[in-house]
Symmetry: C2
Subunit: 326 residues, 2 copies
C-alpha cells in the first residue's frame, strides 16, 4: 500500500494536492473490536474521490468474515457494479503457458449480483439432515448496465470483440437472462463482434488460445474464477490489478490488487507491489488523469522488462516512482 | 461411440458376452418428437449394467434442452453422485503449460446437488424488471457421501492427498457445510493429508503447479469448471474421460467423454475417440474388470507416445482395439 501511494503522489500533476485518509481495517480491527467496517468509516468513505484497498484476509479470522463484512460490504454499499480486471501479459513477463502467447484482454465482471448477494442459509445446522442454500440473484437492471458498459469498452478497443461467459445450458434462468440482454444490447453496437462461451469452455481457451479474447463480460462468480486464471496465465497475481467501479460517481470507486494478503510474507518487505501500483493506474484513469495513468502503466511495463535479481517491496516502489516522476 | 464399443468388445474376456442396446437420443430424437429422454427409455436403462453416453448437443437445439432434459436427467435419475474425472498428462502428450509438468490427479465432483439442481426461475420475464434466480442446494447427506468417497480414493493412492475446493469465503452457507463435513470425515482417514483451496486460487495452481494435486473433491459447478481446465492442461478435452458413478449399484453408472458433440466435425471421421475409449476403461474398472481396464489405459498410453500424422476416428479405434486384443 505504501508503494502504491508513493507512485500515486509521484504521478499526480504538481498542482493537484493529494489528500489521503488511512483506515486500519481488516484482521487487526476485527480482533480488537469485533467490527469489520464501522458505519462511521463507511460514512466517511462516501466523501472520498476513490478508495485504494489493501489486500485483506488473515488465517486468524474465520473465512468469510472479512470478505463479506468488509470487501463485499464496500462493493455492495457503493454499488461497484463494474469489476474491471485487465488480463495483460507484459513484455518480459514469463507466462506459465508455452509458446509466448500474446495476451491482452479485459474482464468486465458484474460486481453486485449473482451468487455473491449473500442470500442463503442453513436448516438443521450441524445435524445429518442439514441443508444449505446459496441463491444467485440476477436482475435485468443489473445485467444490462454491466453488459452495456462492456460493449462500450469493446467498441473503444481496436479489436472490438466482446465475449459473454456464463453457463446457460445448466443455469438456464440466469443464463438465458444474460444471453437475452447480451443480444438485445448488442444491437446498439453493430461494430462489436460477439460470441458466447460456457464458463468451463472459457477456462480451456484461457490456456490454449488466450489471444482470442478482447473484452469478456460475465457474472460475479464466473468473473472471480476467470480473473484468477487470467492472472495466472499473465504472470501471476502479483501483477493483477482491479477496479470496483461505480460509473455514476454517486459513490467512490475502489481499486485493489486481485491477490490476497499473503499473511505468510506480510511485513517482510518481500511482496511485489506491482499489482497495487497497476491498481493506482486504474484509479488515476478513473479520475480522469489519463496521461498519468498511462505513465504509471508505462513505468511498470519498463520495470518488468528490466527485472533482474530480487528487490524489496520498497525498492520496487522507489524504482516505479522514480520512473514516473523522471 | 463405435470406436469405444470396438475397444470394449476387444477388451472383455472371451467368456463374457457383451450385450448392447443402442438409443438414438439427443438432437435427432428431439427434432423428431420433441422428447429428450422418453420414460420408456429411462425404464429400460435401469436394467443395464452400465451406460456409455456419446457427447450430446447441437446448435439447432436451444441451449439447456438436451443438457437438462437428457444428460442431467440421467445423472439425477440414477443418482450419479460421484462424478469422477481423472486429470492425467500421458507421456508423449503436449501440455499447453511450459516446462513439461507432471500431472496425475483425479477430481471427484459431486454430481447431484449444488447449483445443478435446476431450482430457479424468472419473475416479470422479458421486462425491464425481470429477476432470475438459481438456487444451489446442498445437503449434509449429499456432501458426506462424496467427501467420504474422495477420502477413500485418496487413501488408496500413493500420495494420499485430498484437496477440498469451494468458495467458503463468499458462499459461506454451502461452503462452511462442505468444510465442516470435510474436516469431520477426515478424522476417519488420519493417513490422508488434506488442504483447502478457494476455487479461484485452485485455477491458478492448475496452471502454475498442477503437480500439487492428487485427489480433489468439489461441488458440482466448481467441478465442471475445474475439470475442463484439467482437460486443457493435460492435452485437451479430446483425451478427457469421465464416470458418473452411483456406487450403490441401485442404478447403472454412466461413462462419457468430457468433450461436447463437436457438431462442426461430426460424422466426418475426424474426431479423436480417445476420450470415449478412456471412458470405456473407467466403465470396465467400475464393473470389476480391473485388469481389462488397465489394458485399455495402457493401450491408449502406448498409442499416445507413438502418434504421428493424422488418423481417422476408426483408424485410432482399430489401433487401440488391436493393442488390447494383441
Ligand atoms: C476475497 C474474495 C471475497 C474476492 C472475491 O471473491 O471477489 C476475491 O477473490 C476477488 O477476486 O476480489
Ligand atoms: C453439458 C453440460 C451439462 C455438462 C455439465 O455442465 O456438467 C458438461 O459440461 C460436463 O462437464 O459434463
Amino acid at each position: 500500500m505504501a508503494e502504491g501511494l508513493k507512485v500515486l503522489s509521484a504521478a499526480l500533476p504538481a498542482d493537484v494536492k493529494l489528500e489521503t485518509a488511512e483506515y486500519d481495517l481488516g484482521a487487526r480491527l476485527y480482533h480488537r473490536t469485533g467490527e469489520t467496517l464501522p458505519d462511521s468509516v463507511l460514512e466517511e468513505l462516501k466523501g472520498a474521490d476513490a478508495i485504494l484497498l489493501g489486500a485483506i484476509g488473515d488465517p486468524s479470522v474465520p473465512s468469510g468474515v472479512l470478505e463479506r463484512g468488509l470487501l463485499l460490504k464496500l462493493r455492495f454499499a457503493f454499488d461497484h457494479h463494474i469489476n474491471l480486471r485487465p488480463g495483460k501479459l507484459f513484455p518480459g513477463v514469463k507466462s506459465p503457458l508455452a509458446g509466448d502467447p500474446q495476451i491482452d484482454f479485459v474482464v468486465v465482471r458484474e460486481g453486485t449480483e449473482g451468487p455473491y448477494v449473500g442470500n442463503g442459509g442453513t436448516l438443521r445446522t450441524g445435524t445429518e439432515q442439514e441443508v444449505a442454500t446459496e441463491v444467485s440473484l440476477n436482475t435485468a437492471f443489473g445485467i444490462e448496465r454491466v453488459v452495456r458498459d462492456a460493449y462500450r469498452r469493446a467498441a473503444a478497443r481496436p479489436r472490438k470483440k466482446l465475449t459473454l461467459v456464463h453457463k446457460n445450458n445448466v443455469l438456464v434462468h440466469a443464463g438465458h437472462l444474460w444471453t437475452r440482454i447480451f443480444e438485445r444490447v448488442g444491437r446498439e453496437f453493430p461494430e462489436v463482434t460477439t460470441d458466447y462461451l460456457h464458463v468451463d469452455a472459457a477456462t480451456i481457451f484461457f490456456v490454449t488460445q488466450p489471444e482470442r479474447f478482447d473484452v469478456i463480460v460475465t457474472d460475479n462468480l464466473f468473473g472471480d474464477i476467470l480473473t484468477d486464471l487470467a492472472a495466472a496465465v499473465t504472470g501471476g497475481i502479483g501483477l493483477a490489478a482491479s477496479g470496483n467501479i461505480n460509473p455514476s460517481g454517486d459513490f467512490p470507486s475502489m481499486f485493489e490488487p486481485v491477490h490476497g494478503s499473503a499473511p505468510d510474507i506480510a511485513g517482510q518487505g518481500k511482496a511485489d507491489p506491482t499489482a497495487t501500483v497497476l491498481s493506482v493506474a486504474m484509479l488515476l484513469e478513473h479520475l480522469g488523469f489519463t496521461a498519468e495513468a498511462a505513465q504509471v502503466e508505462a513505468a511498470v511495463a519498463a520495470d518488468l522488462t528490466e527485472r533482474t535479481g530480487t528487490r524489496s517491496t520498497s525498492e520496487v516502489g522507489d524504482a516505479l516512482a522514480a520512473r514516473v516522476s523522471g
